[in-house]
Structures are given as C-alpha cells and as structure tokens.
Symmetry: C2
Subunit: 339 residues, 2 copies
C-alpha cells in the first residue's frame, strides 16, 4: 500500500531527471529536452517504431497508456545486448577456466573434451555439441561456492579480451541498445535480462555494463546446496542443471522470477521467439524487436546466411506479425560504445 | 553504467520525499522530519535496535555505511508480515477452493482427503500431514493457466474473511511491520518477500498489502508448461513441485532469484533460520529479527508453548547470536492496521 505511489512518484521524477542526466551533466539546458534519445540509431521506420511505442504507452491520456509498475521490458543478452561471436562469451570464459585449472588436473591432457580445449581445438569441442560443452561447463561452473565463482567471473571479465578486436568483452556491448535501455528506464520502464546464459555468470557485471542490477537478471541456473564451512553458511554450485532459460523456458523464467508479463521484449534468435510471443500475447499495446546480425564489417553476419543460424522461426514470425526487425548494418550508426 | 547513478539518485530523493509522504500529505510541515517512523512500536531495546541499525548503514560517513543498491531486506510472510493462525491462509484458500470446485468432482465426497475438507473436518486433513495437504494443493493449484489462477486468488483474497475476526485476510497484516517496511524503503532499502508460500498465491495481493511488487516476491513454485490455446501462448500450472522456498531453500531462493545477499532479514520460525544465518554471515553490519508470537489476546501465542511450535532452533540461535526477538505482546502497540 505504500509502494505503488512511491514508485510512481519516483519514476516520474526519473523521467524528468533523465533529461538533464545524472553524474555531471546537470548543466544541460532545458532545450536538451528535445535531444534525440537514440543518437546511435539512424532515422527510419525502426527507430520511429520504438519512439512511437514508448510515446503511446507513457503519454497521459493516451488510449494505450500503461501504468509505470507494468512497464516491464525483457532483453535477451547474447547477440541482443552484446556480441556472441565467434563464441558465446560464457563459453570463452569456460575454456579459459579449463586452461587456468589445468595444472591441478593432469588427467585433462588425455581426456575429451578437455584435451581439445587445452590444445586450442575449440572446433572439436563445439562440434561434439552437448557432449563437448557440458563437461566443460560442469568442471568450470561447479564445485565452488557462489561467492568464489562470482569473484572468478569478476576477475576474468575485467581482464580478458576478445582476440580479434582487443576489446574487453564488456566493451562489445551494443551502444544503440545501451541507449534504448536508458531511454526505456527514463520513461518508467524496469529493464530485465532474460537470457539462456548462466545467471551467476552474468550478475557480476550486468549492472556496470547495462545498468541492470543482479535482481533484474533472469538466466539459466544450476542446482545449489547449502553447507556450513568453518561455522559459516555457504552455497555450493553443483554440476546439475536446474533450469534452462531458453525457448519455452523464457516465458517460464519470466513468470516464475518476475511474475509480470513484459509489454516489450527484445531478442535475436529462435531461443527468444517464445519470449516475444509471450510479451505480445498480453492485452494492450505491445512491442517486440529482433536484432538482425547482418553487418559482417563492423560485427558478424550470421542470421539465415549461416547454416548454424538460430534465427529462422523468429524471422518468419517477425515478418508475419509485423514485429520490428533491426538491421545492425542499416539501423545502427555505431555498434560499440566510443572508447 | 546508467543504472547505478540513476537508482542512487532516485532513492536519495525517495528518502527525502518519504518524510512528506506521497499521496496527499505534502502539507506536513518540516518539523515532521522528526516524527517517529515506527509509531506502532513501543519504545524499548528492540525498536532502538532497528533504528540504530538503519542509522548506521545509511548515515554518510558512518563506518558501517552500505550503498543503496546493496540495501536488500528480506521478509518471511506467514507469521512475519501477517497472521498464520489458526491455519496458513494459503491452506484456507485451498480448502475453500475444494468446496467451490466440488460440484464438478462428485467423487470427492468419498475420497480422502477431499471428503474431510467437504465435511469441514480440517483437523483430519492437517493431521494426515503431506498426504492430507498435498493432494488438496495439487487439485486446487494446478490444471489451470497462471492467469486463471491469479484471477481466482484475486477474487478470493478480496472477499474471503477470517471467521474469528471477520477481517479480510489482508487486514490481518501487522501494522508495525508495515511501518518497518515503509521505514526501510524510505531509507533506500529494497524490500523482498522470501516465503515458503506459493509465489503465485502471493503476487496478486502483496503490492496492495505491503507495497511489495510481484518481481520482489520469492516463494515456492510449481512446474509450469508452455502451451498454445486458441493460437495464444499460455502457461499451465502442473501438479509437480519445482522449488520449496523454506529452510535451506531460503538462501537458495535468495541467491537464484535475487542474486544479492540481504543485509537485513526478518522471520518468525525455524523455516526462516537459514535465511537469517545467510544474511548475518555477510561482511559488515547485519540485522536479523524474529517475531515472537506471545500475544494470545490480540493475536495467537504459539511459539515454544505449542507442541507444533516452529520456532525452537530459531529461538535458541537468536538468543545465542544476539538477534532481535520482538515480543508482539510487549513491543507492538497495535497488531493490525486501524479500520
């Protein structure tokens, strides 16, 4: 009974404040109210579709008005908020961890799939599918406390770099999507990640990278066990999967973790299709957006041109339903944040 | 990168705003800053412990200062935020649903445990333990869509009343705890429910009752299945339990759903003990509080005086650790909100 009016008031203030910004830009004059909220998006139908949607659900008196607490937006992560090629970043982390942990595991030199990882033959590992990847995930993501894992991820993500670009992985986030996240939040939206990635792999860095705090990150989870070490409780990560937050798992994860249906959802692959269908099946105005990876020069081009394409069903439905399909090549002025 | 500074700024504003309130009390003079934030709490060591803790973690320059995003507080629900006697409210709901659904289930008249429920012999049902209760929960909490269940709960919770007091169940929330929730939020805390109750039973009414929105409610969950009905996706509640958010499950639920360790935790039974241990095992100043049900006149007295008492281990540890144990009889001026 206290919360709603408080949140509503705060978020109204937020909408006003976001105009002048936070952290040093308070001197921006009132004229800045008219500033383009999505400067890295080229003008066109897709940018217009985003702005029109936000206007229709937020403007007082609009027939499509949505109260602030119901302005929930969910974002896939890999390929939607940051680059997922040549390999999903969590997999790069896992392979790096195998190398880091190898001195304590001499048997790995002659055991598949670890031997392939240590030789750098990642193609052999990924070609083996689940049999290649799951043992690597189990060995590198279980058998330690949640605090230890979080520290390991934090250490890695703040130092490891993508070989091709030399960038930290968190510098390969999409500048246009950062602007979109900020624009939605400035308009009273609560932004969530709903990703197939491991929730404990993402939480140590999503606040810094996207402004999305741990409690707004939904992802796949492994089983946990409460133990007492030295008189203190710890949570041990077990090698069993508890929940896969992909495909059908995305609406299930949204319902069980968030408990509200998003009014806007953003993805890039068939793993996101059910989430976009779930969001758009609700009553009232809804928004669904797919990011289309078609920029081989500035990022990667792989949708529907790649035999491993993960964006086929999604593409067909997006076209049929009139969802917004963003061309990274044509719609985005820049891909990554300026350095 | 946007979120933190924004949230921090907002919540600072919130602390200021909360003084004058929200929704009609803007005319309160500045002197109201000194108003008692917990008027339904009698003065004494326990009230002082709460206020001292909040002051130490929020005051600029305090050696115990905690940044706003880390001010996470978790609350058990049954017996901590509302009355759980003579039966947990979710169980009353389940029994009422059996009666509502009975015309479509003539076989229930001669099948245990449904026959006992229909005859009003609830003692027989609860005496049978899991064998009595689980079939009732399965029959009344599964086999429908999540939207249908949510509507059923909403209809029930806004009309059903407790026979003894004639009160709506949501009027049997504890006024002192409502003040505590508001006081914490006014000081930048994010308040969560972490309850053994079903998450989908709680979410339809926790925002109205406590100001805690659906996405800040963690609870036990049943399995869900995505299906398509009439061309639209629906989530079907299955009769299998997925996660029990009680005892060891509370730290696990906190880690998997919230992803931050609370700095303050509130409970009333042994089912909450692990949550309070988890909260207090973190670095820095922590706060743990047990509500002790010792007021047979205004509510119920059942801890340690009842052979079904659920507060034994918790009591011993609370005393040993110096946690705050609140006497409903002595510490609370009123129990329920004024009508």
């Amino acid at each position: 009974m206290f919360g709603w009016c408080t949140r509503a008031t705060i978020l109204t203030l937020l909408s006003v404040m976001s105009v002048t910004g936070c952290g040093g830009s308070a001197a921006v004059p009132p004229a800045a109210v008219q500033t383009d909220p999505l400067p890295s998006w080229n003008d066109g139908a897709n940018k217009k579709a985003i702005i029109t949607f936000v206007d229709r659900v937020t403007r007082d008196g609009s027939p499509d008005f949505v109260p602030i607490p119901e302005r929930i937006a969910t974002f896939d992560n890999d390929g939607t908020l940051w680059t997922e090629k040549p390999l999903p970043v969590q997999l790069v982390f896992a392979f790096d961890q195998v190398k880091t942990m190898a001195p304590a595991h001499p048997e790995w030199r002659s055991t598949a799939p670890f031997a392939s990882v240590l030789k750098g033959d990642l193609a052999a590992v990924t070609a083996a599918g689940e049999h290649g990847i799951l043992p690597v995930i189990a060995a590198t993501h279980a058998g330690m406390t949640t605090d230890e894992f979080s520290e390991t991820v934090h250490r890695w993500i703040t130092t490891a770099t993508d070989p091709k670009t030399g960038l930290l992985y968190t510098a390969r986030v999409y500048q246009p999507m950062l602007e979109l996240l900020a624009y939605l939040r400035a308009n009273g939206f609560k932004t969530f990640i709903v990703s197939g990635g491991g929730v404990e792999f993402m939480r140590p860095w999503t606040d810094g990278a996207y402004g999305i705090p741990p409690e707004q990150v939904v992802g796949s989870t492994g089983k946990l066990k409460l133990e007492t070490h030295g008189g203190r409780p710890v949570l041990i990560k077990l090698p069993q999967i508890e929940f896969i937050d992909d495909k059908d798992g995305k609406p299930i994860g949204i319902e069980s973790r968030i408990g509200r249906r998003p009014i806007a959802a953003f993805g890039n692959s068939d793993g996101d299709l059910q989430m976009l269908e779930w969001a758009t099946a609700g009553a009232g105005l809804r928004f669904a957006l797919f990011v289309h990876h078609d920029d081989a020069v500035r990022e990667y081009a792989y949708d529907r041109a790649d035999k491993l394409a993960t964006f086929n069903l999604g593409w067909n439905e997006a076209v049929a339903e009139g969802w917004t399909v963003v061309s990274m090549k044509n719609d985005w002025r820049v891909i990554y944040p300026p350095r």
